[in-house]
């Protein structure tokens, strides 16, 4: 007889409502157990991250919900430092014996390697500027709520003779970070996302939004935007490849600039794998381009501390076209004889650090004004499958997708068959003619940023595809 047949046939009274995050003190208790075990074992330095994640995602296609999922988990990640050696062990087994075993495994890993003379001791207590990024309305969003919103998007598609696909997701997470030198940091946030692709015969278009507060997202408005553009995207004409003036909507800007973020890592520059090697301090892009990293920006999400618990600083990366600053972990800062900026990844790692909360300064031009000022060009909704062709000139290749339109004599014209591009991002940022206002944008190739739409000249469309 199977175990299944031995099971109780009674319906266990369980809640079917949204799971809730544990109280922060429960996560802190888990961390304290690990610190106590490590201390009893005589470990000189111990760091513990405890993270809880609750996510749910409703996925639709062909005007129905075809996937609908939820997950809930807690992970404990332990780093020990032992005589100039460090290692990390991560587990989701929370019982004390399992945590003790994880500490032992971590010590064993650490002891197996050569001593690292440049390994830093753990940081002590830090002070953090608080950010509040948890909204009860987002945490309370139910599967039924998501299904009803999706149904409205699907109904709109059907009414317009289209086929809808997309997602509506919501999540809540919290983390605590402690170490044996008394550092304690904690953070929790909610996040919601809606995206819709509307297919109109063989054409398609897309819209997406992501926010910490679900009330900032209007699913039906996004669906309508995608639907209107999809209707306009039918019967595309084929244009010759070449250099075009392009009006990049924020999602397209984000996906290209996102590939620069590792280049601002001091470790990457030190490794000479960054496109900024031997270029810091130089005017590399246009004077109208300023990029900062700012976790405190009201449209950003994320904790105000890094993987070691160092407070994140606001850093100006590009100031009016000049590569002004890099970001530093404690280790890379010490090597460069400067201060850490709070951008380090959890140790040990070989990558160092990176800015994760990019803000590209905007301008005042609307997309409509960019169109009106363009004699001949292309409006680009979204990019796809972007990959690096040349790491130093930062030439990226990829495709346009879900809505490419001809702009002629100041007016939006016919849809155009999608192009492949091979374009240096650095060159692109030297050719920015107009900037829109900056807002939080979301795409699929990079993380969310606060970016403007851009009008860029001489963008290199190298080949054309069949649709």
């Amino acid at each position: 007889m199977s175990a299944a047949n031995k099971s109780s046939q009674k319906v266990t009274p369980v809640s079917t409502g949204n799971p809730r995050l544990r109280a922060e003190r429960e996560l802190r208790h888990i961390a304290d157990v690990v610190l106590r075990i490590a201390k009893a074992r005589g470990v000189p330095g111990t760091e513990v991250h405890v993270e809880e994640v609750i996510d749910a995602l409703t996925r639709f296609a062909n005007n129905i919900i075809h996937q609908n999922v939820a997950e809930h988990g807690v992970t404990v990640s332990i780093r020990t430092i032992l005589d100039g050696r460090t290692a990390r062990v991560t587990t989701n087994r929370l019982e004390e014996d399992a945590l003790r075993a994880a500490v032992e495994d971590c010590l064993s890993l650490a002891a197996s390697q050569p001593k690292d003379p440049s390994l830093l001791p753990l940081p002590g207590k830090q002070r953090y500027r608080q950010v509040n990024r948890f909204t009860a309305a987002t945490a309370a969003l139910s599967a039924d709520d998501r299904a009803r919103a999706v149904k409205r998007a699907c109904d709109l598609a059907e009414k317009n003779g289209q086929v809808a696909a997309g997602i509506f997701s919501c999540g809540q997470s919290q983390t605590v970070l402690c170490n044996s030198r008394g550092l304690f940091a904690s953070y929790r946030q909610t996040q919601a996302e809606f995206s819709a692709t509307m297919q109109h015969a063989s054409a398609a278009s897309w819209a997406k939004a992501n926010a910490g507060d679900v009330r900032a997202i209007d699913p039906i408005s996004l669906a309508k935007t995608a639907s209107d553009k999809a209707a306009r995207a039918k019967d595309p004409i084929e244009l010759e490849p070449g250099r075009y003036t392009v009006i990049l909507e924020p999602a397209a800007v984000l996906d290209l600039i996102g590939f620069l973020f590792y280049d601002f890592s001091a470790t990457a520059v030190d490794d000479r794998r960054s496109c900024l090697s031997e270029r810091v301090g130089k005017a590399l892009v246009g004077k109208n381009v300023t990029i900062t990293d700012d976790v405190f920006h009201p449209e950003q999400l994320g904790a105000a501390y890094d993987g070691e618990g160092m407070p994140r600083q606001r850093v100006t990366l590009v100031d009016q076209g000049v590569i002004k600053n890099l970001v530093y972990s404690r280790r890379s800062a010490k090597k460069a004889r400067t201060k850490p900026t709070g951008h380090g990844f959890a140790l040990p790692n070989e990558f160092g650090e990176a800015p994760m909360n990019l803000i590209v300064a905007g301008g005042k031009s609307t997309v409509e004004e960019m169109i009106a000022s363009t004699d001949r060009g292309l409006l680009v909704t979204r990019l796809w499958y972007i990959r690096e062709v040349d790491p130093y000139e930062k030439i990226m290749t990829g495709m346009t997708r879900d809505g490419l339109f001809l702009v002629e004599k100041g007016k939006l014209g016919r849809a155009v068959r999608n192009f492949r591009f091979n374009q240096s991002v650095l060159e692109m940022l030297r050719n920015v003619q107009m900037l829109g206002p900056s807002h939080r944008a979301s795409a699929e190739e990079s993380f969310e940023m606060v970016v403007p739409a851009m009008k860029v000249t001489q963008f290199h469309m190298s080949e054309v595809t069949k649709f």
């Binding site: 197996s112 149904k151 000479r272």
Partner: protein, 486 residues
Amino acid sequence: MWDYCGHSLDIAKLRGATYADVRVMHHRQRDLTTKNGEVGTLGQMESIGLGIRVVVRGAWGFASTDQMTREGVAACAAQAVAIAKASALAKKENVQLAPEGSYIDSWQGPCRKDPFEIPLETQLALLLAADEAMRRINGVTLTEADMQFRKIDSWFASSSGSKIHQRRITSGCGIAATCFKSDAIQKRSYPNSFGGQHILGGYELIERMELVKNAPRIAEEAVALHSAASCPQKTGTLILGGSQLGLQIHESVGHPIELDRVLGQEANFAGTSFLTLDKLNHLRYGSSIVNVVADARIEHGAGLGTFAYDDEGVPAQSIDIIKDGEFRGYLSSRETAHLIGLQRSGGTVRTEGWNRLPMIRMTNVSLLPGTWKFDELIADTEDGILVETNRSWSIDDRRYQFQFSTEIGWEVKNGKKGRMLKNPSYSGITTEFWNSCDAICDAEHWVLWGTPNCGKGQPMQTMGTGHGASPARFRNIKIGTAFANE
């Protein structure tokens, strides 16, 4: 584990599920990297949990939990049922599943040397030795080496009576040397880029790869690339090395044949496919020497797409994808099989872990060997370019137009491999490319390459896939497009 599986299935059925399947998965992973002679990443991860998929009122729901108690898995099953009821708010037809037998089985993939039993000191010493061998070459500015091991136990049970335990151990390793000089960065990797070679198996792979022996060669090539001629821009003959051809198969055959993509289920993210249903058995995909299979059976080799049962409990199969150049088959699931007239799923549904919904994924999508010896292929080529080791890859969202660049290339002139070329790239349209294939090397040159980083789905799932390939020749290919400026 079976008790958790059984209890969650019972709860799902009692709450109205007409079908349910559950996976308890225990995932262990070890990652080691070195950089410039120092340890980079050194970590282990363990994760255990349960995911349950249910059909209620004809619609799907899925929930997962790491609360491995009877109460925890019961709550998870109840949540999956509630989610399925919400899905039913926006459905048109009931989910239909192709019939499948029930199986009680236990299977373990091949593994001669459990990598988790090999001392870490041994593993790190090997990486550091390879790293040092690369750093000895003048001009190298960055050296990297890595190993990755995974051990995944899964317990699958379904409301139709299957109970299947599988253990899969995978191993991977690679090294890379980078040279920054004046205004360019050149990089060489071995045995493949982006993490090296990965297989279903144990530490025997690492020993077989001879990382230290190959380290000086790739470091020298990284430096030499700076002095090499640039790859010309032209239309001509292209010979792809095996690992690059493996990725070409992955992008231009493996993804377009995913039936969920064809049916529009991935339209919002990964995209759709040019392989619409009318093309099945009616499209000349490639030249007559092109034969591609999707084969998850161990007989095909120990690849990242090898298993005994997929994550719907369907036994591993070999499916003809391209037969003598004709398009013959898709990757299917129990839910999609009937839509192409199949009586049974092709057994290609896989999940990244306990907290992810199983979905159609590549297994081992492989180009079967041809008849050529590599030396004969070169000798038979009057004017061509040989390229190896992927550097970048990109293809449109319907899988027509692609562009790849590789780390290195060589001229082939009058039947001889000639001077080194830097920055090689090529592009094309999928079916035109495969129809231009006129020579494929034989089984002696065939390697089942592992792609450990295939992303698909929302939330994103990363899956390992296998791609058997031997070097092959293609005619009239656009070469050098990535660096063409106008």
